[in-house]
Symmetry: C2
Subunit: 501 residues, 2 copies
């Protein structure tokens, strides 16, 4: 092949021209981004920019260049570090899910879920099976955010093996930067080929909802230009098309058959003597088990839903009594606050998850989405219809982490509710428990019953099943919940022991 | 001495009678507490219960007994563990200050700042001098909360050396509880006398704003009764007297003389050539220093205050440019959200503090208290007058931690502001930066100037001085801020090296 020969001077002048052009382009893109930021806020669109890539590829400085002109009110940068496995007390997605931006803002992830999954896998901190689970969780996470209206850009900053080696050596030599080169970076460099293949596979498997863009990190200015262009185009499209609302899709979870609420026999009771005796015995056992799950770092999540005045509070208190408050928490869920409404609906539950080894009772839960939010029109039909599957995914992410997830529907009939409402109304120290809203909700009993039936059918999965707790007799209900909880904790401990943990 | 002799049967029957009485008392107190919880919410009174005491004294189970009947919507338990010193990336008070309850709620601290200070000191993780500083910080922290309307109860659960030994041995023998006995617990037991003395001293030194109550942990039921009684009485007093607002008190900080704003010469400028050259040089140096402070884990807090349109944003961006976003953050401070208004006013800044080694720019700060909140009447006169000293204390807590705290007042004159407002109004892409509020604030220039002058006089401390940045020429202002920042970081690094760190 004949290669055209240029004089050195000509080459230089061309390079200079290209460089000037690039500078111009970058400046123009920055101005467009600047003009977009205010519109993003007006249209309340949240943006996620994930920046993954090789060690020493320049992820940090790329982000620095992209945000250079943006007003700090409009963006944030998070750097969820890869933690040593022993320090991980939360689910895999936790550091990413808790950091999502609120409406109108851009969040840059300086490394994220790709590094979190790949690194741990290649380090053999997690098994192949666990890695596979993380890949699925990533797909779910990205789809849920996209469907929830998040604009997402995923970048991979690529550099060759040789270039990486040179950069690491250069950083090593400089006193100010040598500490930045970690053992893990050097290990990655030695295992460059292995990483390369795994990154490639990861991208192939996680490109469905949100595509990957590979940028050449060896050409820094071009990479900045490309990142800016992709971001500006993404936001333009988002502003033009308006907030995206994902469509509901087919369930893929094996479900447990649940009875209809109207078919539930609410007559079971327990005698006072049996109650006192059983309660004492069961609470003692639960206290013992709490020590075991704490020690084995098994997270336990108890979800309470049920009719107003069904007895959720008293039920939770009977569970709480034998538990050491250092390892037990109740999370009362009220209406979302403004900063919660400004994020994907599961966010306010992600941030309330317990550390592993802790037991947490949610007094009302994420199921508000398919009950009150559905019935009061606080979200669109697509939103709540999509939520069944999203919630099943969320709970499977929790059980993947090793959590015991139990869901209790505390059930009473309408007559019992009325009697308890009247009792509350007539007892001064109970009056605060009864609000106008409770009466309004009561009028919508049939609609709620339909919604609850659908919820029970669609979200009682094998890993996180629903239990209907007959609570016309509160004492019976308490004994039943305690037994179910004890049973689940015993099984979890046995499984743990069987797995040699 | 003649000791009265009782028959065994008589003794037993008396004991039984006492036990029954105690049970009755506890039940009655629980009911009173139950009746109080709703009133606490109505009157928006926050309550802090600190439970300190010996290892194995039963702090957890005491809390469990106290909260037994309270609705989970009204309380929370936090267990800020004692972290190994090397993992401490935040100021001493951070885990306690970030956990304070919102109005209407009770927060139980299962061990807290007493353990945090004493333990670290006896372990020799901190020096005597650092320990002394922590004792002062505790006094400040408690006074500030009390003055901010928090009801506080401080309990110390006491057990004797012999009893502690027996309990630890018992726990050790039982498979379910043996893991609870840590090396530190055993060490405390071996050093019982040393701890006893230090606890005693600590209580003597920190009882001024909020008194200590020592409960006998060897009599469990009595301790529960006493804790409940103290809590119920505290809340009763609080409900009766209404929310307490602390009085301002005499400054005790050595202050730096500051000029009045009207005396500041705003004429300094810089030529474009000098600016370009200096900017490049200074940014390069700042980038190098960022590596050093990151490595040495020195926290850096840059506080920006100034007139609207003074050029805060552009100034911050020039600082940001050379910094790696992994270690740099801008915290834009807008009006407080409801969950922020429901807590002591410094809380929303505590939760935004950077980790050590990180640089953080606050775009507006806690000084809102003595400017906008003062002028708009968002707090009482006592509140903002007290704030000068509270803020000085807060900043000294930050510098005690090792932080570099720099405060910039970005200063312009009224004519310059008007010109910039007009420019914003006439430039479409800048219009969002100008609000009705900006015009309203402009009308209050004289009142603001008085407030700012007072603020500069009263809060320019040696450890956290104010710098007035002449910003009629924005470029001059940027160079000056960069130089001041570089200067402070260089000094901090030198000090670090000199101390052999």
């Amino acid at each position: 092949m004949k290669k055209e020969k240029k004089s050195k001077a000509m080459e230089n002048s061309e390079e200079k021209k290209n460089k000037d052009e690039l500078k111009c382009e970058i400046r123009a893109l920055r101005e467009r981004l600047l003009a977009q930021q205010q519109k993003l806020m007006e249209k309340k669109l949240p943006v996620i920019v994930l920046v993954e890539g090789w060690a020493a590829a320049g992820k940090g400085s790329l982000i620095g260049e992209v945000i250079r002109e943006i007003d700090p009110r409009f963006y944030n940068v998070t750097s969820p570090a890869v933690l040593p496995e022993k320090d991980e007390r939360y689910p895999f997605l936790y550091p990413y899910a808790t950091a999502i931006p609120e409406n109108g803002k851009i969040m840059f992830y300086n490394s994220g879920w790709m590094e979190g999954a790949v690194h741990k896998y290649l380090r053999r901190d997690i098994t192949k099976k666990e890695y596979r689970a993380r890949v699925s969780e990533v797909c779910e996470f990205e789809r849920q955010l996209r469907d929830g209206g998040y604009l997402m850009l995923k970048l991979f900053l690529d550099i060759g093996e040789k270039e990486q080696g040179e950069r690491l050596r250069r950083q090593k030599k400089n006193y100010e930067t040598e500490w930045r080169v970690t053992e893990d970076d050097l290990w990655q460099h030695r295992e460059y080929e292995l990483f390369k293949e795994t990154y490639k596979d990861f991208m192939a498997e996680t490109g469905e909802s949100v595509p990957w863009h590979v940028l050449n990190g060896e050409k820094r200015k071009k990479a900045v230009r490309d990142a800016l262009r992709l971001l500006v185009e993404l936001i333009d499209r988002g502003l033009e098309e308006g907030r995206y609302v994902g469509k509901p899709f087919k369930e893929k979870f094996p479900l447990i058959d649940m009875p209809k609420l109207s078919d539930v026999d609410l007559s079971p009771t327990v005698s006072d003597e049996e109650y006192d005796e059983e309660l004492k015995k069961l609470q003692k056992r639960l206290g013992e088990l709490h020590n075991l799950v704490y020690r084995r770092k098994i997270p336990v999540i108890l979800c309470y839903e049920g009719w107003d005045a069904a007895g959720k509070g008293g039920n939770i208190r009977r569970i709480a009594r034998p538990l050491d408050p250092r390892g037990f928490d109740v999370k009362p869920i009220a209406s979302p606050e403004p900063h919660e409404l400004n994020r994907q609906y599961l966010w306010r539950f992600w941030i309330r998850l317990p550390r592993s080894g802790h037991i947490c009772s949610f007094d009302r839960t994420w199921y508000g989405r398919v009950m009150v939010e559905r019935l009061e029109g606080f979200c669109s039909e697509d939103d709540w219809k999509r939520a069944y599957n999203e919630i099943n995914e969320f709970e499977r992410q929790l059980t993947d982490w090793g959590a015991v997830v139990l869901k209790f529907w505390i059930h009473i009939d309408q007559d019992t509710q009325l009697a308890r409402f009247n009792d509350r109304q007539n007892t001064p120290e109970k009056q605060w428990k009864l609000t106008e809203e409770d009466w309004r909700n009561r009028e919508k009993w049939p609609q709620y019953e339909t919604a609850v039936d659908e919820m029970l059918q669609k979200t009682s999965t094998e890993n996180a099943p629903w239990h209907i707790i007959e609570s016309n007799d509160k004492k019976y209900a308490r004994i039943k919940t305690l037994r179910l909880t004890i049973d689940a904790l015993e099984k979890a401990c046995e499984k743990h022991i069987a797995r040699g943990l």
